[in-house]
């Protein structure tokens, strides 16, 4: 597997140095070179503190690496300016968080369509149709009830639909089933993996959930950095 793919996602010599702590030390994460072609479903595992979430933030362009580069379909994410990274995230990226992070005062449909309000969205009608179709497939019937009043399973399904509705090329999921019971976790995991594959998106999923992990053929296990307590 090429470490930096011109058609997929990859990183090389990637390091992230944190600010100095009170003990005067600045922990540094070093990531092994890695790459996957577009459309791959990749699971990332590893103990706490090994940098799984930090890696997702680096891929999303939310954090900038101290060294090395991350490339996505031929372009270096960290070389993009902030506005370009915002636009890239809005158009090409879907994000699923462990704690859903929905807007509790908005209904399911409004939550799913929220990223469309961040910038120009020429295909708004198609986006809404896609959102409604996703809700139907995910068994979400009430689209206007405030998300804060939905069950945890329903909330995560709305969050998954939000990550998929604009048919992104890359989906990042950070422990998407960790806050759910087994039944809801299975439903969300199935929905995420199946729908990502259906639209041909590259799925990068950080997880400790064995049931979810079993759905991924490609896996990357990160090791704890030297000097850090896992």
């Amino acid at each position: 597997m090429s470490s930096v793919s011109e058609t997929g996602l990859g990183w090389r010599d990637l390091t992230l140095r944190f600010r100095e702590g009170r003990d005067g030390r600045a922990p540094t994460l070093t990531f092994p070179d890695f790459g996957v072609p577009s459309g791959t479903a990749l699971a990332i595992t590893g103990p706490s503190g090994c940098g799984k979430s930090s890696l997702l933030n680096l891929i999303a362009g939310l954090a900038l690496p101290t060294g090395g580069e991350i490339r996505w379909q031929g372009q270096t994410i960290s070389a993009l300016g902030e506005t370009a990274r915002d636009t890239w995230r809005r158009i090409s990226l879907g994000f699923v968080f462990q704690d859903f992070h929905l807007i509790p005062e908005m209904g399911a449909l409004a939550n799913i369509l929220l990223p469309a309000s961040f910038g120009p969205t020429p295909d708004r009608a198609a986006r809404e149709a896609e959102a409604r179709a996703l809700c139907a497939r995910f068994g979400l019937a009430d689209l206007v009830r405030p998300a804060g009043t939905l069950s945890r399973g329903e909330q995560q399904r709305v969050a998954v639909a939000r990550a998929l509705a604009h048919r992104p090329a890359l989906i990042l999921a950070d422990e998407p089933t960790a806050s759910l019971d087994a039944e809801n976790g299975a439903a969300v995991g199935t929905a995420l993996v199946t729908e990502a594959a259906a639209i041909g998106a590259t799925l990068i999923c950080v997880t400790h959930d064995p049931a979810l992990l079993a759905r991924f053929e490609t896996r990357l296990a990160l090791m704890p950095p030297a000097g850090r307590v896992p």
Binding site: N57, L62, A63, E82, T83, D86, L114
Partner: protein, 405 residues
């Protein structure tokens, strides 16, 4: 970029806090509007009340006191000037009309004003809406002279009233004979009400107008053999502007003072204007301080919502979306509060006007104008600028810090 769906959610999340902010800002701006419109209404109404008094002549003393007593019927003991001035003025070719005005008595809590029949009808401008004007008392009528009442005097046609000597500081309630009034009645004198004047919006609406001869008679003074008793005030209608200035010059000496009530009112407006400026500045400062407190609240809220905004950034929202969102929240709430404050301020002025009408008889004319809008525009502009502070705080917030909270 369309921040409004998210803005609606943000405002909904504030819940009752948003309602409280609206009400607080609305109240603060209403005070500013009420000061502005109230002062303006007071000027207009007092100027209108003085319209019937082109030139006032009285014994030397305080012109302000003469205006307050004659036009606004505020009870004060005025010095008398020699009665001979009245026939002299009547004979003056520069004078179109002259009327004596005498005060000092009350009946049923209403001030009694002795004057001429012509001035009671404001030299032909007013026609009684009920009954007729009083007739000059003949000797036969002197025992029960007639009275013409203002629009707000709650007495019936044909009612008979006994005047009482009004003392300084005497308690009096319109429509009621207080024990103090009963104690000081001029027994033996009774006025019979024969007519009611239309409403003029001035304190004279609550006055009982009687022939001045009857007032003199009540106080044991009689205009006999051409000798006119002393009077506290004379209202003069000159034939021309030049005559007005001429008369003012002539009667500023020789035991009298003469002035245009407008001179006194302009001086009062000057003082009133300064007070209004101070009050307005204080109320605007008060509103701005309140905005400051509210924006500190938004600052705190922006801090609490750090994670929410970081999630929006992770989903693709640019920094300026967050800036706009936080700024709009503050501006929408404060702006809406200010807009509520505009009609609320007018309503407050109307309430104050009602109270003032009850206290003084002066009807305040509420006329909204552009300066009210300007005050609101200044407040909203100030809020818009100050709202940038919490907005910039949220704008500068690092995404990662918010996400890992």
């Amino acid at each position: 970029m369309n921040p409004f769906p998210m803005l609606r959610a943000e405002l909904r999340a504030l819940g009752w806090t948003a309602v409280a902010i609206l009400l607080l800002v609305g109240f603060a701006s209403a005070i500013g509007i009420a000061i502005n419109t109230g002062e303006r209404a007071l000027r207009k109404s007092s100027a209108a009340a003085a319209d019937d008094f082109p030139l006032l002549i009285g014994a030397p003393g305080s012109p302000t006191q003469l205006v307050m007593t004659t036009i606004f019927l505020q009870p004060e003991a005025l010095p008398l000037m020699a009665g001979e001035i009245l026939p002299r003025l009547k004979a003056d070719p520069r004078v179109r009309d002259v009327a004596p005005v005498a005060f000092g008595d009350i009946a049923m809590g209403y001030p009694i004003v002795g004057t001429s029949r012509e001035f009671a009808l404001r030299w032909g401008r007013l026609t009684p809406v009920e009954g007729r004007a009083f007739e000059l008392p003949s000797r036969a009528l002197m025992a029960k002279p007639e009275a013409l009442i203002g629009a707000d005097v709650r007495l019936a046609m044909g009612a008979e009233i006994t005047p009482a000597h009004a003392l300084a500081g005497m308690r009096h309630t319109p429509g009621e004979a207080e024990p103090e009034e009963v104690e000081h009645r001029h027994e033996g004198t009774t006025y019979r009400i024969v007519g009611r004047l239309p409403r003029t919006g001035s304190p004279w609406d609550r006055a009982i107008l009687v022939p001045i001869e009857a007032v003199w008679a009540t106080h044991g003074l009689h205009a006999e053999s051409g000798q006119v008793p002393g009077v506290p005030a004379l209202v003069v209608r000159p034939k021309s502007v030049a005559d007005a200035y001429g008369l003012r010059g002539t009667y500023r000496q020789g035991g009298t003072m003469a002035f245009f009530p407008a001179e006194v009112l302009v001086a009062l407006y000057g003082a009133l204007g300064e007070a209004r400026g101070l009050l307005l500045a204080a109320s605007v400062l008060n509103a701005v301080l309140m905005f400051g407190a509210i924006l500190l609240l938004f600052w705190a809220i922006a801090g609490l919502r750090r994670q929410r905004y970081a999630v929006l950034r992770a989903l693709g929202a640019p920094r300026r979306f967050i800036l706009l969102l936080v700024w709009l929240q503050a501006v929408v709430l404060i702006g809406a509060g200010c807009l509520i404050g505009l009609p609320a301020g007018w309503a407050l002025t109307a309430l104050t006007g009602r109270w003032m009408l009850g206290e003084t008889g002066l009807a305040l004319t509420l006329t909204p104008d552009a300066s009210d809008i300007l005050i609101i525009a200044i407040l909203i502009s100030a809020a818009s600028l100050l709202a940038l502070i919490p907005a910039l705080l949220a704008y500068r917030q690092p995404v990662i810090t918010g996400l890992t909270k």
